[in-house]
Amino acid sequence: MLRLGIDVGGTNTDAVIMRGREVLSGFKASTTQDVTSGVVEALEGAISKAGADRAEIGNVMIGTTHFTNAVIERKHINPVAAIRLGLPATACLPPMVDWPDDLREAVGNHGYLVRGGYEFDGREIAPLDEEEIDRIGDDINTRKIKVAAISSVFSPINQAMETAARDRLLQKCPDVSVVLSSDIGRIGLLERESAAIMNASLLALSDRTVEAFAEALKSAGLTCPFYITQNDGTLMAADMVRRFPVLTFASGPTNSMRGAAFLTGERDGIVVDIGGTTTDVGALQHGFPRQAATVVDIGGVRTNFRMPDVFSIGLGGGSLVRRNADGDITVGPQSVGYRITSEALVFGGDTMTATDIAIARGEADFGDRAAVAGIDTATLDGARAAMTGMLERAVERSRISPEPIPVIAVGGGSILMPDQLGDLKVIRPENFAVANAVGAAIAQISGEVDRIFSLENGLTRDICLKQAEEEATKKAVESGAVAETIETIEREDVPLAYLPGNATRIHVKVVGEMGGLDA
């Protein structure tokens, strides 16, 4: 059986065909406005390059940065009714209070505060104010809002009130799509609520996008199920993405790091993904990206998704090479971006880019080498030193041990990477340019538990951790993971200070191979 991995980025759409652990082919196409035609071009390219029988393709996995880009560019975002259950608590900070003004306007700034929510120990702050939900329903109908996000205080401990509010709202507004914060995020009201609101604002786009993916596969004669990768490098069914587009927000860097790990067989290392404009650097630990400890900012909004700790610098294949006032050669952060294929010297343009330097120095060979023959040695050496310095500092920042771990270079711009960075050896896997699509193709299924346990009545930390692990495993199996392959990849307990009764917050994540995959 074959696997088809597709990565739909802002500039390129890549596809790979894999059999077990072997990459049979990779193909790069341009991302198109309608998404569909770009996906079709990439997957047809990969299929024909591999000479694959499409009946043999058993699963399709897609990674996309489409939804992240929509938030960052404030495009395709719909108005949302943001309903919070928590009064009298939380009255001082309305929903979206810490958003950038333009994004808050883009979602309509419709915040509603309602009596309800839970205390940390499960008591109700107040019973749900159902009549207020009815009044909000009328208001939503008047304003013709099509989506709502409901967030209750401490809903990660008990989802019941969010569910009840949704059911009540649907009586008034049967056609409104409702997102519950407890389905999306963890403890931390503003971050979880913001994620739920962003998710609701993207529902129409996710519907169209998933439809476009389905159409592309259908037109290619592929009838197998398809999955989409989420933040942690694991898969969710296409229909889940329709409901939870925000869960794909960090899948881009995750896929490239997981792809890099897979292509090299390394489980620990620093992955450097060099694109056209920027370079993303992150650490691999045990085959998974190291997670960021703090909140992650998406388009100016704080979220508490678990995301890879990725550090970006302004260096890419299209970075401008210039001489500054002091006479030093600088590279980036300005870039010709996707216009590199017309503006770089080797492609007949008249802008000196980082790629031109690599070609002129003989570190890569494509385009018109004669066009860069005139660049003087001082410029070449200065630019080379500048790029190496930038990469060294970025790698050093992500390095978490003095061990001589490898640096893995991936992405279309990885020709800029020297063979050695300081004391670290650089590995360049085959198919480095399509590592993202490979990362998508090998993604696994996960299950996660994150809530507060009370260490009382004979319950110990170990018992609670075990219980959380069993729950997470059950979730993973229900989502399609093979039970025998499941392993725990995150296991963390953070005691709640300043409260007697020894409450502790436990977070456990397990992953397993997807069923039906003969790896």
């Binding site: 009298p88 205390e119 009201l189 260490l455 200070a497």
Partner: protein, 366 residues
């Protein structure tokens, strides 16, 4: 009187997190609340400590409970105002100014917010000059102020008066029990103090210092200079370690987080090993088996690149950090203060406090 701007609030967020020495809770929610209050057109004013009249009636207040709860069940917003009003009713006089219990962490914001809502100034002082886990650990309590009658309010409108506690420790214990019933995040205002007492026994200039500290870090970041060095220069502190966290243990004991972080050095500390003892805050710094910094001096852990303070909850294996020692205020170094906020106040009676300036001799056994 200094009028507080939104920019000051941003700087205070950074400065108070540094002075939190790993604890005190994240000031982010408080920052948002403070900005909301400013945007509603309620001015915040900081009164210099020495401008406080001798007979002024000053109430210090702060949040009490679990920081994690305060990020989920965000406050109603006027809890502290209800505390002040209840105290005024109980004592039969009006309050003239609000003071801060704890400048470190999220409790730096609450007095500003409540003072603005009440139309009162905030005195430029606090009771700790940093963060401590318990209420009796303020210089107000240490130097003889009886913090009861006090008032504790929650988001529901419940108002609890602690009429009399036989000791400051009893007050802490009773308040801690009550905050659980109130949902784990309340506001507590202590009995009014006279201006003359506050001028003598409060840690001075806390707000101007924390705000300037935050501005210093910001400015260093903007100029791409080392923020860690900038903090040291500003606070007369020193960088005692640069390293990576190689082991981390945290466990609960009586509602408080205890544990230790082990670090391996790099840069100028290559080959050195350090340990930091945690008890809600960072308490003790030990290098190569020798104790170098002890509470109440401040042990601060910062992200080595950004200079941002790392709280005990944010500590992760593999983080690359700088460790700073900052001297505490002399009011915390007296024998009566050290009984409460020195090592023995944290069950570390086997250690003897020695000011960080004197430990360069490296003759202290761990």
């Amino acid at each position: 009187m200094r009028v507080v701007t939104e920019e000051d609030i941003d700087a205070l967020e950074i400065g108070s997190a540094i002075l939190g020495t790993g604890g005190g809770g994240n000031p982010y929610i408080g920052k948002l609340r403070a900005k909301q209050v400013l945007r509603e057109g309620r001015p915040m004013r900081i009164l210099p400590l020495q401008a406080l009249p001798d007979d002024a009636k000053v109430v210090s207040l702060g949040g009490i409970g679990a920081p994690l709860v305060s990020h989920e069940r965000i406050k109603e917003g006027r809890e502290g105002l209800r505390c002040v009003r209840a105290l005024e009713e109980r004592f039969g006089f009006r309050i003239d100014a609000i003071a801060c219990e704890e400048i470190g962490g999220q409790n730096s914001m609450e007095p500003l917010i409540i003072a603005a809502l009440a139309g009162l100034p905030v005195v430029d002082c606090d009771g700790m000059g940093r963060a401590f886990p318990e209420m009796q650990m303020t210089t107000y309590s240490i130097y003889g102020h009886c913090s009861t009658p006090s008032v504790m309010c929650d988001c529901h409108g419940n108002v609890v008066t602690f009429d009399h506690a036989v000791s400051e420790l009893w007050h802490e214990k009773m308040a801690r029990a009550c905050v659980v019933a109130q949902g784990g995040s309340s506001t507590l205002a202590s009995a009014p103090m006279d201006g003359i007492f506050v001028k003598r026994f409060a840690i001075p200039d806390s707000y101007t210092k924390a705000i300037s500290l935050g501005r210093t870090v910001r400015a260093a970041q903007k100029r791409h200079e080392d923020p860690v060095q900038a903090i040291c220069a500003f606070e007369h502190g020193k960088q005692v370690f640069t390293g990576k966290i190689v082991d981390l243990k945290r466990h609960l004991k009586g509602g408080f987080v205890r544990g230790e972080a082990i670090l391996d050095g790099f840069d100028g500390f290559q080959g050195d090993t350090a340990q930091i003892d945690i008890q809600n805050e960072y308490l003790v710094f030990t290098r190569n088996g020798v104790v170098e910094v002890i509470v109440p001096d401040l042990v601060v852990i910062l992200d080595n690149d950004t200079g941002e303070a790392i709280s005990t909850e944010m500590l992760r294996y593999g983080q690359r950090v700088g460790v700073l020692a900052l001297p505490c205020h002399p009011l915390l170094r007296s024998p009566e203060a050290l009984k409460v906020v020195g090592p023995s106040g944290f069950g570390l009676g086997h250690l003897t406090y020695r000011p960080m300036e004197e430990t360069d001799r490296k003759d202290m056994p761990a």
